[in-house]
């Protein structure tokens, strides 16, 4: 690699990846990591890019230990390809992050991105049981292992989750898998307003229903519950939920699949900025009220939100002028009803008006210290954040 001229490198082996990183560190190059490139615009704009390191040369499903419900996968493999392979033994890696049809394992883990399935299965950090990483100075190191239950040593795979490639490069990761459910039903209920929606959420949370996804959408005030299990159980649960929530519609088969792919894509296909934001599940009515107030006072055209009702986490799409969008982001950050408001998609103008990242300053010294420990020359995704 030569400084001053952006290079794209596609290493074919972990050792090659490590060697390229070592050379980049030696020359103090600024390196951007890239999988499928679906989330390259997440984070602050990189001030300088000398080289791009692609993980796409590392795309193999290294092992599917179906009897142990685990799989070891190289970082550049796409989630979709992996799940096709795992389905041969009736298993899957139950993640449905943004851009799920293209996103790679490494990118999903590095951003710890997830979707509606998080309600049951958690985020990538909950499913990863081991990783091999390449540090910026070119050391290949494993942590965790191949077994689901394991507390030997530090779990660095958790540390990499959410690091956005700023600490080390994920070379491969081992995940805990789940059996593919035999049957699935999705129930959609439409509430009249935020109060009724909050009441629905409360009722479902207090019940013994066990959905695998539990979503809300605003401004439609829709609630979605997905049940997946043996056929008798999904019918019984969908029926019980319908009794509880009144007028509802139940989807299955192709209609159900279409419903979910539309739901997962709707924020991204719409116009405007997208922020990720969190709220307390029992406080959802106030959170929706805050959005309404943002819409009324900021001058934006529309605000849409969808997310996980019980986790209290979702995406907010803000359509309008950058200055108005910025007012919404600032109001959400000031609001007691929201926390961890992070800009996902935003125009350069919006990014110049508000910081992409949110979060308490008390962790910054730790982040800086970790960065010095694993990437002493500061070559990995510099400036992009969150580190």
């Amino acid at each position: 690699m030569v400084a001053g001229q952006e290079l794209k490198q596609v290493p074919d082996t972990p050792a090659e990846m490590a060697e390229m990183l070592r050379r980049a560190s030696e020359q103090k190059l600024s390196v951007v990591l890239r999988g499928a490139g679906t989330k390259l615009d997440w984070g602050r704009p990189s001030p300088r890019v000398d080289a791009t390191l692609s993980t796409r040369g590392l795309y193999r499903l290294i092992a599917h230990q179906h009897g142990d419900l685990t799989a070891t996968i190289e970082a550049g493999a796409s989630l979709r390809d992996v799940n096709v392979a795992l389905s041969l033994h009736g298993q899957w890696l139950p993640l449905d992050p943004s851009f799920a049809s293209e996103a790679t394992i490494g990118g999903i883990l590095a951003t710890n991105d997830s979707g509606p399935l998080r309600h049951r299965y958690g985020t990538p950090r909950d499913l990863v049981i081991g990783t091999e990483i390449a540090t910026a100075d070119g050391v290949l190191a494993k942590s965790g292992g191949q077994v689901v239950k394991n507390v030997a040593g530090y779990d660095l795979s958790k540390l990499l989750a959410g690091s956005f490639g700023s600490l080390a490069v994920i070379v491969n990761a081992t995940f805990k898998l789940s059996p593919l459910p035999a049957a699935s039903r999705t129930l959609v209920a439409a509430a009249r307003d935020a109060e009724e929606l909050a009441g629905f959420v409360r009722e479902v949370m207090a019940s013994q229903l066990e959905p695998i996804a539990f979503e809300i959408h605003v401004p439609s005030f829709a609630l979605m519950l997905r049940f997946a299990s043996v056929p008798a159980a999904v019918d019984a649960q969908a029926h019980a939920a319908a009794m509880m929530l009144g007028a509802t519609k139940i989807f299955q088969g192709d209609a159900e699949r279409a419903l979910w792919s539309q739901h997962n894509e709707r924020v991204w296909t719409g116009t405007g900025a997208v922020v990720r934001a969190s709220w307390l599940p029992a406080n959802v009515a106030a959170a929706i009220g805050e959005l309404k107030s943002c819409a009324a006072t900021s001058g934006v055209i529309e605000i849409e939100m969808l997310g996980r009702a019980t986790v209290g986490s979702g995406l907010v799409r803000i359509n309008g002028e950058a200055k108005a969008q910025a007012r919404v982001v600032e109001q959400l950050r000031r609001s007691a009803s929201f926390g961890n408001v992070v800009l996902r998609r935003g125009s350069p103008e919006l990014k110049s008006l508000v910081d992409v990242w949110d979060g308490s300053a008390e962790r910054q010294p730790l982040f800086a210290s970790l960065k010095r420990a694993l990437d002493p020359q500061g070559v990995l995704n510099p400036g992009r954040g969150p580190i």
Binding site: I133, V147, V151, L156, L180, W279, T310, L366
Partner: protein, 501 residues
């Protein structure tokens, strides 16, 4: 370093304590108060070891802070004076994670035992680290909720210790470990700063520091406040106990259940020796068999009913000699009592025992268990096996008699050999007890020098001076007498003051 049981601490220990800077001790006293500082050698005796009593060390002092700011004050003092410190919960750890450091301070968190907030609408509870695991469930049970991780010691172990060790339990196959249930931890860093790992709201931006902290065995920070999520009690629970003539048959049932796409809430196995011990201790009415398997399913009624039939059929197909389905909650409790008492019950069939908790991929269980049986014959030491079959977590209980010359050493060798089988099978040194001081010397069998060096870089990012629970997790040159070893009575136990159960 290792002391003969029942003999008073050696004079060197007193001297070492006396050598601790008087001014430092006065400052500690100012932080925690007169009653929060223990220096009397008799009082220190309790803190010499955790539930791995063969590793023991006398600390220079023990402090019992009553608030997070007192913990912070103590840590700041230690940092300023370069004094190592060891956090300690209720001392139930099985890997010597709370083993004191000579000349150091033990920070015992037992007085930080308040339940701070029970938030049923948001399904979470906030407690101080000295609250016991079971107390959380007690707080929320009236509302139909529970805290999922359930280590066998849940009645007495502290939630702070659970966070340090990433404790599991019998139900983690379906419900995960402590790391999956902790939302936020307030902790004191080795330099005395208070930092929040995770936050009240989901998705704290940045690397998952909380995920790193949970399971770091008290080496990067001391938790002072912990928020956990609680779960709704499942609608239905079904439990069965099936007996088999061979361990292979039991293992085949587990494989078939998993292959059928069923994730049981728990799958436990016990072998003949463990069954006999449990029967002698708590009379759970287990059949006299080579192997028993306990399978528990929970969830929505329609799901449990359908899948439970499959489990029963699978047991029959593999030649179960008896299948005992729990008909009542009492019946289920009796089955679990037999399982959870298995460790302590070993005392009924052997004067001493040593327990390990290696992990193997589930599919390699039969092979590894057969190797253990061969080893049993070769070594002449009986080995009881109790294990979480669903996740391949073994608990070999190695029986020996410390009065027989050479026996304790043999037990150590047998344990080491079993761990080597686990590593060869692609498993782990520990599934839930932690590396601690006990197994740090085995870490190079599982990780390369580079792996360990990178982990150490992360440790140093939190604790550059190496003062926070030094000597744990990572291999250091061994000191004299500091060898992994078998169960011995805790000094308090030996003095007849407490009973292991």
């Amino acid at each position: 370093m290792q002391r003969t049981l029942g003999v008073a601490p050696r004079t060197e220990d007193y001297n070492r304590a006396n050598l601790m800077d008087r001014a430092f001790l006065d400052e500690l006293r100012q932080v925690v108060g007169e009653h929060g500082l223990l220096q009397d050698p008799l009082e220190l005796l309790t803190y010499e070891c955790d539930a791995l009593p063969h590793l023991r060390e006398s600390p220079a002092a023990v402090v019992l802070p009553a608030s997070a700011s007192q913990v912070q004050g103590v840590v700041r003092l230690c940092a300023r004076h370069g004094v190592p410190f060891v956090p300690r919960g209720h001392g139930t750890g099985l890997s010597g994670g709370a083993l004191p450091v000579a000349g150091g301070v033990v920070i015992a968190l037992s007085r930080l035992n308040r339940v701070l907030d029970v938030d049923i609408p948001n399904q979470r509870v906030t407690v101080e680290p000295g609250v016991t695991n079971l107390e959380i469930t007690r707080q929320v049970a009236p509302f139909g909720f529970y805290y999922a991780p359930d280590p066998s010691s849940q009645q007495v172990c502290s939630i702070g210790g659970n966070v340090a060790e990433n404790s599991g339990g019998a139900h983690c196959l379906k419900y995960g470990f402590t790391v999956h249930h902790v939302l936020e931890v307030e902790a004191v860093l080795p330099d005395g700063e208070i930092v929040h790992f995770g936050s009240t709201f989901a998705d704290t931006p940045g690397p998952d520091l909380l995920g790193l902290l949970v399971g770091s065995e008290g080496t990067i920070a001391i938790a002072t406040r912990i928020t956990v999520r609680i779960l709704r009690r499942p609608e239905t629970v079904q439990t069965l106990l099936a007996a088999f003539a061979t361990i292979d048959a039991g293992g085949a049932v587990v494989s078939d259940i998993i292959a059928a796409g069923i994730i049981p809430a728990a799958v436990e196995m016990m072998d003949a020796l463990a069954i006999r011990a449990a029967e002698a201790a708590v009379h759970p009415n287990f059949p006299d068999a080579d192997t028993v398997l306990i399978v528990e399913l929970d969830g929505p009624a329609a799901e449990v009913t359908a899948l439970f039939d499959t489990v029963v059929d699978t047991c029959r197909r593999h030649g179960a000699t008896t299948i005992d389905v729990a008909q009542t909650d009492d019946h289920r409790a009796r089955i679990w009592r037999g399982r959870k008492a298995a460790f302590a019950a070993m005392g009924r069939v052997s004067p001493n025992y040593y327990v390990q908790d290696g992990v193997v991929p589930r599919t390699r269980l039969p092979e590894v268990l057969n190797r253990i049986r061969t080893l049993e014959q070769r070594s002449g030491l009986r080995i009881g096996n109790v294990f979480h079959a669903g996740d391949g977590n073994l608990h070999p209980l190695i029986c020996y008699d410390e009065r027989v010359p050479g026996d304790p050493e043999k037990a150590v060798q047998v344990a080491a050999e079993i761990l080597s089988y686990c590593i060869e099978a692609g498993g782990s040194l520990t599934g839930e007890h932690g590396i601690g001081a006990d197994k740090s010397s085995y870490m190079p069998t599982m990780f390369t020098e580079d792996d360990l060096a990178v982990m150490q870089r992360v440790r140093a990012a939190f604790d550059p001076k190496g003062l926070c629970n030094p000597g744990k997790v990572f291999p250091t040159p061994r000191l004299c007498g500091e060898v992994p070893g078998p169960h011995r009575a805790h000094p308090v136990e030996a003095a007849g003051l407490a009973e292991r159960w």
